[in-house]
Structure formats: structure tokens, C-alpha cells
């Protein structure tokens, strides 16, 4: 049986929330080998064991933190992948994931597709969005190993308890400090990551001020949701760009997307149309959001959202 590699991304000192879904995608193609930079915490190893990862390669060496040196990290990941004999390397198509997967693929001279929403290991074909979600492309990767970034929430994790062996890969290549990570800072609310959230509540321009996002936050707290904003709300200064959903913002595919006071522009749908369930709340019964969502409530978000919060609190 062939082996499929998965880049294990560590976010804020914990296993990236979308990693198990990518493992779920990889296990369709063979035994899953994880690759992690520098170190793997016991709690993260235990989590990977829940999802069928039988082997993890810890890529490190030369007494430096590879996670702070993206250029060398890409070379090291490529060398480890080559040594392992995996048929493919998958990873989360996040900011860090895309960066390292691309560096590794270029070093391996391997075919690369990022932001895949589907993968078939028999034909080596992947699916991905084109034209901001207006079309889907099927692309074939014609050499092995190949490298794929997987859009968060595209695949469900497959629970399968196994024991995981840890091996070390000592990187012997050059240390390149042309790019150095000097720090990570938290900006904004420190809320759940939009790209990884199961539920997202988004505010449009009618929210009217940054303070009014509190209404959405109270609702979000009851169902562990992330909070988004439309471009109009961001451009009006009610929310930072990091919260923008849509074209030139975040592309999300949660299980539930609640749009509050959104008109539902083409550009907004480009960022959230792959959500499993879309609910629109708008005072205008002719708002475009109602023509392309699952459920609609015609009403004022300032009335409807607090009611929703209260009912959700009651159910808990």
C-alpha cells in the first residue's frame, strides 16, 4: 500500500484544527505519514493517533528552529519527503501551509496544486475553485511525489485509533536566513479562526459600528462560532480586514454560515458559497442573499440576532 505524507501544522503551539481533515483526505490514498517541524508535543501525537496517523517524521536539525527559517524549512521538508518515499504530500491550505508546501514542492520539482477541495488518488486528479468559486477545475498531477494544499473543512476527519511511531529526520542541507520569522502577534479579537470554524456569523454594513458587533459576539459565544464581516462593513471601518469574508478576504466553508444584514453580493458569495448551510437575515425580502441560501429570516438583525442568542442559550 502506498504512503501519503501530511504536513502537520502547529498553530499557536497546538495541532492546527484542520489537520485531522487533511489526514482524512490522505488516508484515502494509503498509510498516513505525518511530517512536523522541530518537535511534536505528546498531546498532539495522541490526537494524531485518534485519526490513524501511524508514523510521524520530526524534521529538525542543525541546532536551529526550522519553523523560524521558512527557506530552510521548505528544503528540509522536501528532503524528508524524498527520503520517506511517500507518493504525495498534503497539508492544510493555510497561510503557513501554502508557504511551506510551495517551498517544498519547488525544491522537489514536484507538481503542486493549492486550495484543493477534492482529491482522487487513483487518477491523481484534484479539484479546485476557479474564477472565485464560479467554476471548478479538475487538474491532473502527472508526476510523483506531488504536493497538494487542502482547503480547510473540505474533508471530514476519519477517527481510527492507532499507535504512532516517531522517527527523526536530521536535515543536513544549508541554513538559509534570507527570511527569518521574528515574531507572531495577536491582532483583533483573538476569536476563532474564520477558515477553520464550523459556524460563522457575519455582519454586513447595517451593523453600523464596531461596537454593534457585540450582538454577533454574544450569539457566537453560545455556539462556538467565529465572526466575519462583509467588505462593506470592513471598508466602513466597523471591522478589521482579517475578519472579511469574500473576494479579497477569507474563503470559508463552515457547516453553518449566518449572514446578518448582508446583501449577498457575487463577491461575498465567492468567499462562502461552499458553506454547507447558509442562513440569511435581512430586512429586504428581495436581497440577493435569499436567492442563493438555504433558509432566510426577513427581519432586522438587531431584533433577530438577540432572539437567536436567547433561544440558543435556552437549548444548551
Amino acid at each position: 500500500m502506498s504512503k501519503i505524507g501530511v504536513f502537520i501544522e502547529i498553530v499557536d503551539q497546538a495541532l492546527g484544527k484542520s489537520v485531522p481533515g487533511v489526514v482524512g483526505a490522505a488516508c484515502r490514498g494509503g498509510d498516513v505519514v505525518g511530517f512536523v517541524l522541530d518537535d511534536l508535543a505528546d498531546k498532539d501525537r495522541e490526537l494524531l493517533e485518534e485519526y490513524g496517523v501511524t508514523e510521524v517524521v520530526v524534521v529538525g536539525g542543525r541546532e536551529v528552529a526550522l519553523s523560524e527559517l521558512p527557506v530552510s524549512a521548505g528544503l528540509a521538508l522536501a528532503d524528508a519527503v524524498k527520503a520517506s518515499g511517500v507518493k504525495a504530500l498534503l497539508g492544510v491550505s493555510s497561510s503557513t501551509g501554502n508557504d511551506l508546501l510551495t517551498r517544498a514542492a519547488l525544491s522537489l520539482q514536484a507538481p503542486l496544486v493549492l486550495d484543493c477541495t477534492g482529491i482522487d488518488f487513483n487518477t491523481n486528479c484534484v479539484r479546485k475553485s476557479h474564477f472565485s468559486g464560479k467554476a471548478t477545475a479538475t487538474l491532473q498531477l502527472t508526476a510523483a511525489p506531488f504536493v497538494c494544499g487542502i482547503r480547510p473543512n473540505s474533508f471530514d476527519p476519519v477517527p481510527e485509533k492507532v499507535a504512532c511511531t516517531i522517527t527523526k529526520f536530521e536535515y543536513a542541507g544549508p541554513i538559509d536566513d534570507a527570511i527569518t520569522v521574528t515574531g507572531v502577534e495577536k491582532s483583533g479579537s483573538g476569536r476563532k479562526d474564520l477558515a477553520e470554524a464550523d459556524i460563522i456569523i457575519t455582519g454586513g454594513r447595517p451593523i453600523g459600528s464596531s461596537e454593534n458587533f457585540k450582538i454577533l459576539e454574544e450569539c457566537a459565544d453560545t455556539i462556538d462560532a467565529a465572526i466575519g464581516a462583509s467588505r462593506a462593513a470592513v471598508d466602513a471601518g466597523y471591522a478589521p480586514h482579517s475578519m472579511q469574508v469574500g473576494l479579497t478576504g477569507k474563503i470559508v466553508s463552515p457547516k453553518l454560515y449566518i449572514g446578518c444584514g448582508l446583501s449577498g453580493s457575487v463577491q461575498h458569495f465567492a468567499g462562502m458559497k461552499s458553506s454547507k448551510l447558509i442562513v440569511g437575515i435581512n430586512t429586504d425580502k428581495d436581497a440577493p442573499i435569499f436567492s442563493k441560501s438555504d433558509y432566510g429570516i426577513i427581519g432586522d438583525l438587531f431584533e433577530v440576532v438577540p432572539l437567536l442568542t436567547r433561544q440558543l442559550q435556552k437549548r444548551r
Binding site: 521558512p70 493555510s94 503557513t96 476557479h130 472565485s132 502527472t142 495577536k186 457575487v266 438555504d294 433577530v304
Partner: protein, 254 residues
């Protein structure tokens, strides 16, 4: 200071895309400068303005119509342009990067290169990196903050979850621009008129001895499935919310 910006012309986000045959689309739509590239253009022009000296050169791989995209960015302050002309609908990031590298080699070494972090049509996200591999320069993409201190660029990347990563990059380097980097300017009328007189060099991609080594083949394009009308939840706000909560509970979402 020689600053390059890489430009792509893409269908406008309002354009209705129809798939033609297996791998083509209705090309007679309205085209615009790839929105992420505009952030690169603005940053390049600001860098030149702050520096008080230098030249900003736009390089584009695209169809004949891409001349209008180049006029737009020249109205934003780019000094001159080079268009590598191709008849293909989709030129992969591997070929694009080779063509860009070819032009940059002809026009002289870069002090800094800006590009959009991805295109809005094929959404590949790879061109800045492939260009870096071609010409041997470090690349940082997804950049939302940029400043230059002597020979080091100080940049920030957006990481998701409200996290921002700070990095130092030795120059010359390639910066993949994301929204948030700046607010691109709207060109004034006199700048638009001035841009009409600026130089656009045109060369044919066939003149370049390059070939696609990406190992990726486009097999098919399919229209995305459209969602249907929403079921409007009737009644008072209280009743509508109550039906919604029932539905969410039934579907085990909450």
C-alpha cells in the same frame, strides 16, 4: 532603485463565466487588473515616491487586451511596461514565472519585486514563489505590511485566527501582496492621459525558449453548482428564529 510589479489581467468579479468546451470559458467578458496586483502596484509606486528616485516597471503575461490593464497601472504611477503576449486562456504559474524572469533579466536586476499573492481566475497562489525560484530571490507572500530598512524588508503576513507573523527578508526580494497592505489609489484624469504616452514593450511568448514543467494539466472546467432560493421562515421574528433553531438542532449543527 529598480522596482518591478507583476500584473495579470483577469475577468471582472461581476463577470458571468460560462464554460466553453472542456477547458475554456467565454473570453468576451470585462477584464480588470487582478485585484491583489493593485496592492503590489500601490506599494511599488509608494516605495518609489518615498525613495524620491527610481523606476517602476510592470511586467504582464497575457493576451493583447492586457494592454488596457497595463495602461491602468501606469496611470497609478508605474513608469513603463512589458507585455509578454500569449494566445492561451490559462498560462500556468510555471510558464508565467519563466516569462517574467526572462523579462527581468532583459530589463536589469531588481531591487524589489511586487506581485499579487494570487490571481482571481486560476487562483494558483504560486507565481511569486516560482519567480523567486527562477531568479534566485527570497519570497514572502500574503504580505499585509511592508517597510524597507536599508537592505532588509520588514514584513508581516496574515496567519488566520487574528495572528500576524513578522519576518525580516534580505533584499532584493519578492513580495506577494494581500489586501490590507495599502489602499490602492484611483488615478486622476491627468495621470490617465499621461499613462497613454508611457511605453509598453510587447514581445511574443513564442520568442522565449520556455516550456511548461509544472507537471499539472487542466483536465476540465465545470460551472459551480448554484444554490437555490432560500426557504423563508415565516411568522413573527420570535417564530422564525424558533423554526431556525429547530432546523439547526435537527441537522445536528447545534
Amino acid at each position: 532603485m529598480r522596482i518591478y510589479v507583476c500584473i495579470k489581467q483577469v475577468p471582472d468579479s461581476e463577470a458571468i463565466i460560462k464554460i466553453v468546451g472542456d477547458t475554456e470559458y467565454n473570453r468576451e467578458v470585462v477584464y480588470v487588473v487582478n485585484p491583489y496586483d493593485e496592492y503590489g502596484v500601490e506599494e511599488a509606486v509608494r516605495l518609489k515616491e518615498n525613495n524620491g528616485d527610481g523606476e517602476v516597471i510592470a511586467v504582464c503575461v497575457g493576451g493583447e487586451g492586457a494592454v488596457s490593464a497595463l495602461r491602468t497601472v501606469m496611470a497609478m504611477g508605474v513608469d513603463r511596461s512589458v507585455l509578454v503576449k500569449t494566445g492561451e486562456q490559462f498560462v500556468g504559474s510555471d510558464l508565467t514565472a519563466q516569462a517574467l524572469a526572462w523579462v527581468i533579466e532583459q530589463e536589469g536586476p531588481a531591487d524589489i519585486i511586487f506581485a499579487g499573492k494570487q490571481s482571481m481566475d486560476s487562483e494558483g497562489m504560486q507565481t511569486p514563489y516560482r519567480l523567486g525560484a527562477q531568479i534566485g530571490l527570497p519570497v514572502v507572500s500574503n504580505v499585509v505590511n511592508f517597510s524597507l530598512e536599508k537592505t532588509t524588508a520588514l514584513v508581516q503576513r496574515e496567519m488566520g485566527g487574528g495572528l500576524r507573523e513578522s519576518l525580516t527578508v534580505k533584499t532584493p526580494c519578492i513580495i506577494g501582496a494581500n489586501k490590507g497592505l495599502n489602499e490602492p489609489r484611483y488615478p486622476k484624469m491627468h495621470a490617465i492621459l499621461k499613462a497613454k504616452k508611457k511605453e509598453i514593450k510587447v514581445l511574443d511568448i513564442a520568442e522565449l525558449t520556455i516550456q511548461d514543467n509544472s507537471g499539472v494539466q487542466l483536465k476540465g472546467l465545470h460551472p459551480a453548482e448554484d444554490r437555490s432560493e432560500a426557504r423563508i421562515l415565516e411568522g413573527t421574528a420570535e417564530e422564525a428564529v424558533s423554526s431556525l433553531v429547530d432546523i439547526l438542532a435537527e441537522q445536528r449543527i447545534i
